[in-house]
Point group: C2
Chain length 142, copies 2
């Protein structure tokens, strides 16, 4: 099949396939008129790349899987180098998730604190003789 069909079957674009080729991830045969030609194995390989990309792997991280398939193994993750990438990715994910949860907690605290400060000002403002309101409080003014 030609590049357009392969791209369509993998749910991507011809530009992407040429990019992968330029990165040495996806090799193509050429037919008599110079068009790139692919087979079902290329589709499998491409789908492997796309799956990993969807997981957030960057292109270089997919290389071991690609080379594993190219070496004739039944799956891209049939080789130790691929398993190593899985493991590294898992620890990266764990670290990232942890950091994001910490940030989430901090931002949540800030929100609570800021809302409390706002409410206290609002309460003061309703008390006769309380401080003058400095901020616009509650909803939008305009």
């Amino acid at each position: 099949m030609r590049i357009g069909e392969l791209a369509a079957r993998a749910g991507t674009t011809t530009r992407t396939l040429r990019y992968y080729e330029s990165r040495g991830l996806l090799a193509a045969r050429r037919n008599h008129n110079g068009y790139r030609t692919y087979d079902e194995d290329d589709l499998k390989l491409l789908r492997q790349i796309r799956t990993l990309q969807d997981f957030g792997f960057d292109l270089e991280e997919t290389r071991p899987f690609v080379e594993c398939l190219r070496a004739g193994h039944p799956e891209g993750d049939s080789c130790p180098a691929s398993l190593a990438v899985y493991r590294r990715k898992l620890s990266e994910l764990d670290e990232l998730i942890g950091e994001l949860q910490a940030v989430r907690a901090q931002v949540g605290e800030q929100l609570v604190r800021a809302e409390r400060a706002r409410d206290e000002l609002a309460a003061d403002a309703t008390v006769p003789g309380g401080p003058d309101p400095v901020c616009e409080l509650g909803g939008r003014t305009r």
Copy 2:
């Protein structure tokens, strides 16, 4: 104070401050010879930006906080627009964390599956009359 001192006190670089200025986030007065001049309020403003950046906010998201401080409010999050950013960020974080956890689970499954497949091949290989090993198994060969 001049730009170098402000940058140092905020733990950043002069390039960053000029960039913020170009984005309209950090205004500077100029002294007689054209040098940028800043005061303690600018430092506070800059620290507000940096804190949010550390949380993963992008620059545009810090703008409401900056404008809030500029308007004379005691804190960058004393204004409704800032609270709205907090809330939006929280939901973004929740969504992202959820996605990452889902990816983590999937990658974990893939790893387990691939390891099991490898071990089964290894077990077969130790059985006399079992299938020939096709992959390099276990540790590194070279």
